[in-house]
Structure formats: structure tokens, C-alpha cells
Symmetry: C2
Subunit: 194 residues, 2 copies
Amino acid sequence: MTDYPDPAPTAPTRVERRRATRARILDSARALFAERGFQRTTVRAVAAAAGVDPALVMQHFGTKRQLFTEAVQTTAPPPGGGDPDALVDQLLTSLDIKLGGLPDGTLATLRSMLTDPDAAEHARRALGGQIDSLAAALPHSDDAELRAALVVTAMVGITIGHQLLALPALRDAPADRIAAVLRPAFKCLTREAT
Amino acid sequence: MTDYPDPAPTAPTRVERRRATRARILDSARALFAERGFQRTTVRAVAAAAGVDPALVMQHFGTKRQLFTEAVQTTAPPPGGGDPDALVDQLLTSLDIKLGGLPDGTLATLRSMLTDPDAAEHARRALGGQIDSLAAALPHSDDAELRAALVVTAMVGITIGHQLLALPALRDAPADRIAAVLRPAFKCLTREAT
DNA sequence: GTCTATAACATGATAGAC
DNA sequence: GTCTATCATGTTATAGAC
């Protein structure tokens, strides 16, 4: 093992190769989970996409569920502090991003959250975090959290309609126009009033 | 078959019994599809819930998919005509209904639309219809359809957050309060402006 | 010894026999 | 209407390759 000290810089060690294979499997899994959701994605399909044997996938991740969990694990989105109007613009920008290419991990969670308990829990946590951040930045009132939740879930619905269902009315609209139409409504939602 | 002419008013004929069994299967299927979605619902579970043999389900509906299609078939929601403000109130009322008990057929479609192509198509059609109705009632402009689509998909997102994900921030809010907070924002969305 | 591939078993959808 | 057979899939156990 330690007899020959790095014969060539281009020769990967076994651990490196294994790590690379693992990463390849994770990438394929993320893409397929994003496209088809948890249930409709088969371990065999992931293996085929990654160019490995199906059993190898299990070797690496134990169960399909664990594979999903790791594939979906992502760094938390940046929490935004500042005044509410800036926050709304920030949210609209992130929606703008979302309406373009949502990352596969997020897509996978979005797509599976209605039919898979684990994905639902993951979504609950992620959305809860976004809601709390937004609520904290809103003017204090007893329905700040409610308003924040409505803004976030409304954006989820719009994203679903655009990205996952591809509703013609949304698919054909440019992202900046959507943001422009949405802005006054969201400002209205975040402004405290009874 | 036609020898004995209705021996008793309480004795159901074979076709009646078959029809009743079929209805029982459909009800069980609708409930299970609403709770677990298409994939996670097994024909065996539907059969067990209806108290029949699994093969009988196939005898009646051919495939699990066809069972889903028939279970989800529902009468179209009432198209609303009138002025936009009244329409917004009407939508909020329907949201109010939705936040209470959504019918199983709708729940089943909602839950499965992100992971099942057929359910997605069904949802696309149903939402498209709602969007078109609303757009037709909005003041004519080139983004009436966009605005209508945003209102409808936002409501879908809110419904999902409330009913399917049970986000704490929404779950704990009374429906009338949600409607009150939402009303100004939706009015803003439906009012033409650039 | 460590990585990979093959075989075996359980459950579910569906088709055909009875 | 019920029972049995076939096929796909998730998962585990076992054998083969380097």
C-alpha cells in the first residue's frame, strides 16, 4: 500500500475513485429525483445513469431513502435582513432565479413533498426557515408570521405552476414581467394592516 | 334471470350489487389516492378498504391508472362572471372552503400532480379553466391572463402549505383571518396597472 | 482486503386460468 | 369472482475481480 509513493499525479487512489463514483451516483440521483420524484425514480435507473451496478448504489448509501436524503441535502439559502421592501425585492429576485433553473436538489424536494413523508418534512423545515426569516424582518405584529407564510407559499405555488406544471399562462411570460406584476401585491401582503 | 319478477324491494339484482361494489371501490380509491397519492396507493389496499378481492378491482377498472382517472373525475367548479372585486371575494370564499375540507378527488389530483404525468395533465386542465374564467372577468389588458394565473397558482401554493404540508404558520391561522389578509393583495393583483 | 457484480427474496401490478 | 403466474422493483446475501 505505502510501498510506492504516488507513482503519478494522474493515477487516482482507490478512495479517490470511490469518492468520485459516489459523487457521480449522487449527481445522477439528484437529477432523476428532480425529474421524476422519489417513488418513480428507481435505484436501477440511477445506477444506469451513473454507469455503475445497482447493488453498488446500495453499497454506498444503504437505502434508496438515504440516497434521496443525501442527494437533497443542500446549503441553506442566505437569510435576509433589512427593511421589508428590500426583502420583497430580494424574494422576487430569488423567484426570478427559481423561474429560471431551480437547483435539482430543490426541485427534487418540491416534486416529492406531496407524496413522500420525508420530503414533506424536509420541505416543512426549509419553508419554515424562509417564513421565519421573512417574519422577523416584517414590522412586528401578531400576524407577521401569517403574512410571511402566505408570501412564501404563494411563491411556491407560482413556482409549481411555472416550473412543474408548465401552465401556458405562466410559461409564456418573461420572468421580469412576472416579478413586476407580483411586486405591488407582495408589498401589500407584507404591509401590516387590519 | 327474468323468471321471478322482483321478489322483494330489498333484494338487489346482480347488476345493482355490482354497481354498488364498484361505487364502494371508487370511494375507497378516492380516499386512499387523496391520502397517499397515486404511486403509494396499492390496488391491494384499495381492495382491502372496499372489502373485495384485489383482482376484482382490475376486473372493474382494467388498470390502476384508469381507477385513478375515474376516481378523480369530478364536476367542473362553477364559472364566475361579474366584476373583479366580487370575483376576488368569490375566490377567497372558495379558498375558505378549500382550507376546510377539500374534496377527496381534488386532494388526490393536488397530491399526485407533481409526480404523475396524468394527474399533472388533469391539474393543468382544471387550473387552466379557472385561470381562463378569471382572466375573462378581469379588465381587458395584455396581462390579464398572467394576473389570473398568478392569483390561481398562489392559491394553490397556499392550499398546499396549509392542507398538505400543514405548515404551523398557516395551520394555526383561522380561515377568515387568512382571507382578510389575502384580500387586499389579491385585489392589487387583479387590478390592471404597469 | 476492498470494490464490484450476481443471485435470491419480498411486494406490487397485471394477465390469464379456473 | 377468485386463484395462480409473470414481471418489475427495493433490498439483502453472496460470490467474483483487482
